[in-house]
């Protein structure tokens, strides 16, 4: 049996769809951020798989995934700072109860 590109793309696709499901259904902001990380990771896997299977002599996909990881880390750190600040002001992080911009 030959492991081709689609064998890696299908688990990544399922991971992305899990992220979509979680982002729609979850109400806790940190749980939504977890779903977002799942989606970002699925996209990283796709970049690397396309690079490895379709253009093995180049390294664009690998470096794109590398920069995506760096930006995802920065974005998560900032999002968690904002979430903790919201928690301090509103005493909860449920998106349904956060309907005012200013407390």
């Amino acid at each position: 049996m030959e492991i081709t590109a689609v064998y890696y793309l299908i688990p990544a696709l399922i991971m992305f769809c899990c992220g979509v499901y979680g982002f729609i259904t979850r109400k806790n902001m940190i749980a939504m951020l977890v779903s977002l990380e799942l989606m970002l990771n699925a996209v990283d896997i796709n970049f690397v798989v396309f690079n490895r299977f379709l253009f093995p002599e180049q390294m664009e996909g690998m470096f794109f995934a590398l920069f995506a990881i760096a930006i995802a880390a920065a974005e998560t750190a900032l999002a968690i700072a904002i979430i903790i600040n919201i928690f301090r002001a509103a005493k909860n992080i449920d998106v349904r109860s956060l309907n005012e911009m200013k407390f």
Binding site: I3, T4, Y8, L9, A12, C18, N28, L54, M59, A77
Partner: protein, 170 residues
């Protein structure tokens, strides 16, 4: 033709990736969701290693497992009581979520399996060594990445300052 060992390895990794990512979005305890996310990220790192991108796999483990998941765990412990269950989903929101996810799965899955290019065998490639990675990251020639590298360093600086300003006590 792949060896039996790499096929077994592939199935372990693919199954754990699928199972843990489903569990990360369906469990009702938020700390468990973070733990399942950690396992999913490890599975992704193993995929990078299996595809010969050792440096990327190491970065994935160091940044995601070592940095982001720890941040998640701290944020969860600061904002909720461990052991709390999330409220049960209403059937309305669950229906919307399942329909959205399944529709996306079907459309994208159909697009994937109808492309012949994704069924070609893995071409030969020598794994990029550290010297190549470093020269590509810090060179300014064709297909080299000095400018994005510097842009990311400015982004990280802005992120540090932003994090301090947003989270400090007033």
């Amino acid at each position: 033709m792949d060896s039996l060992g790499s096929i077994i390895m592939y199935f372990i990794v693919a199954l754990s990736m699928i199972i843990f990512s489903v569990m990360a979005v369906t469990t009702r305890k938020i700390l468990r969701a973070a733990t399942y996310l950690l396992f999913t990220l490890f599975a992704a790192a193993v995929v990078y290693f299996m595809l010969d991108y050792e440096f990327l796999g190491a970065v994935q483990i160091a940044v995601y497992a070592g940095g982001i998941v720890v941040l998640f765990v701290f944020a969860i412990l600061l904002t909720s009581h461990p052991g709390d269950n999330a409220p049960r989903l209403t059937s309305h929101s669950r229906t919307i979520g399942v329909i959205g996810a399944i529709a996306m799965l079907l459309v994208t899955g159909y697009a994937l399996i109808t492309r012949a290019a994704f069924f070609l065998p893995k071409p030969e490639m020598e794994a990029p060594d550290m010297q190549t990675v470093g020269a590509t990251l810090l060179g300014s020639g064709h297909a080299q990445y000095l400018l994005p590298f510097e842009a990311v360093s400015v982004l990280l600086l802005a992120c540090i300052i932003g994090g301090v300003v947003v989270a400090r006590k007033r």
